[in-house]
């Protein structure tokens, strides 16, 4: 299969997931609502002066984003199983790595949509200007979402079909993505405090490193994940 054919297949698989969500929304509304509720509940508990909130809100934002994001990851394969589409997808003459990249892209877009809702919610509730430096913040968001969606796609596919799937997904996912959570939270904190020096770059390098590592691992291992 040539590169162009692979890219086209990847795009059609992403398009399929997005179109299904548009026609019969099952994942995004629940995830977005959970995100807003988490933002509300978390901010209700943080009754601190503004300077303290500035150093805390980065971590809280990513905590809400990753918790709500697990809903999207959990449902990304469950939907395929429920409708019996999974076998058809595997019979489709396409490399498992392409399916992985398509699912990761769909999950990445879902997480970006979640951030679009969460960022104004956190700005509104915490009164901390998350978008004071939009460029660097966007870089953090993109790298964190890429790492999270890559490892989340692998774990979601692995736990799909197991008993207590939801609980297992969270239990497995949170330790595995902790370098991403840590990197995103610390980079956001330093950015909000205006400290974009060497330490900020180190956290960004960590985020980028894990994002690349997780995408590469997922692409290589997905063949074994989807064997049955």
């Amino acid at each position: 299969m040539t590169f162009v054919q692979t890219t086209r297949t990847w795009w059609w698989l992403v398009h399929k997931d997005l179109l299904r969500e548009v026609r019969a929304p099952r994942v995004w509304p629940g995830m977005l609502l959970l995100g807003v509720v988490l933002a509300l509940v978390i901010e209700m508990q943080v009754d601190l002066p503004r300077e303290h909130r500035t150093s805390l809100v980065g971590g809280l934002f990513w905590l809400a984003a990753f918790f709500a994001g697990t809903v999207a990851l959990d449902r990304s394969f469950a939907g395929e199983r429920d409708d019996g589409c999974w076998q058809a997808l595997l019979l489709y003459p396409v490399a498992p790595a392409t399916i992985f990249l398509a699912k990761t892209t769909a999950n990445f877009l879902a997480l970006c949509a979640l951030d679009v809702v969460l960022i104004p919610a956190f700005i509104l509730f915490s009164d901390v200007p998350l978008l004071a430096s939009p460029g660097p913040f966007l870089a953090i968001v993109l790298l964190a979402n890429l790492g999270f969606s890559a490892v989340g796609t692998v774990v979601s596919a692995l736990t799909n079909g197991l008993q207590h799937r939801g609980g297992l997904l969270v239990l497995l996912l949170l330790p595995l993505i902790s370098p991403v959570v840590l990197g995103a939270a610390q980079a956001t904190r330093l950015l909000l405090l205006g400290e974009t020096g060497g330490e900020w770059w180190r956290w960004m390098q960590l985020l980028a490193g894990f994002a690349v590592l997780f995408v590469a691992m997922g692409a290589l291992l997905f063949e074994f994940v989807v064997e049955d």
Binding site: L162, Q163, L171, P175, P179, L213, M217, F224
Partner: protein, 225 residues
């Protein structure tokens, strides 16, 4: 032959571990600032190293399982993971004891401590997933993928202090006798835990064979405990 393959390595490891314990508690000098509590370091460093080695061994044997599809590699991967988890637990316990004396707290969110706790949770998740799958082949495959992904946490633990400027000492100045004690301790405990992993692997292989024989003879002879 059995003496050569089983008793000889076991005796050698027992002797080496005894030498290490004598060096830790009797030969190494008493540290001036922390006193006898500092001796925890000899055990702590050794088990921390074994915890990381267990994770790498688990991932490498899982890779071999995915390539070769022989149950022995899966048993080896599981055994390495179990010993690695035990060592990581001991790392957290000994580290906490040391931290109480050195930093006056049982726990602090220091980068390497945090990374070690994450490694412990990754191990725990791996075993939880394995225990929730009944089909041995599927369990081995899912476990192998998770074991390989888990290896991503190892560089985080190793480099945590250098990357994020933690409080953990990186390469402190030591008396030569202390350095020798640490080296012997690391070698002895690596031997001890490797031997434990080998024994556990054999046990898992035998359990697999018993299960297979039971399934073959189902309907003919049914053994009830």
């Amino acid at each position: 032959m059995r003496y050569v393959t089983t008793l000889l390595p076991a005796s050698f490891i027992a002797a080496l571990t005894s030498v290490a314990l004598v060096m830790i508690f009797l030969w190494a000098p008493r540290e001036i600032t922390m006193g006898d509590v500092q001796r925890i370091v000899y055990l702590h460093v050794a088990v921390a190293w074994c915890g990381l080695l267990g994770c790498v061994a688990m991932g490498l044997m899982a890779t071999m399982y995915l390539v070769r599809r022989r149950p022995g590699w899966d048993h080896g991967s599981q055994a390495a993971g179990e010993v690695g988890w035990l060592c990581t637990t001991l790392t957290l316990v000994t580290g906490s004891l040391w931290a109480h004396e050195a930093w006056n707290t049982w726990w602090t969110w220091e980068p390497r401590l945090t990374a070690s706790l994450i490694l412990w949770a990754v191990y725990a998740g791996y075993f939880l997933v394995r225990s929730s799958i009944e089909d041995p082949q599927r369990r081995a495959r899912v476990g192998a993928v998770l074991a390989i992904v888990s290896m991503a946490d190892v560089p985080m633990v190793v480099m945590a202090t250098r990357w994020f400027r933690g409080m953990h000492p990186v390469s402190p100045e030591m008396d030569p006798s202390m350095r020798w004690t640490l080296l012997v301790s690391v070698v002895a405990f690596t031997g001890l835990f490797s031997w434990l992993a080998v024994v556990r692997r054999k046990q898992l292989s035998l359990a697999g064979r018993v299960l297979s024989l039971e399934q073959q003879s189902e309907g003919v002879v049914r053994w009830e405990p």
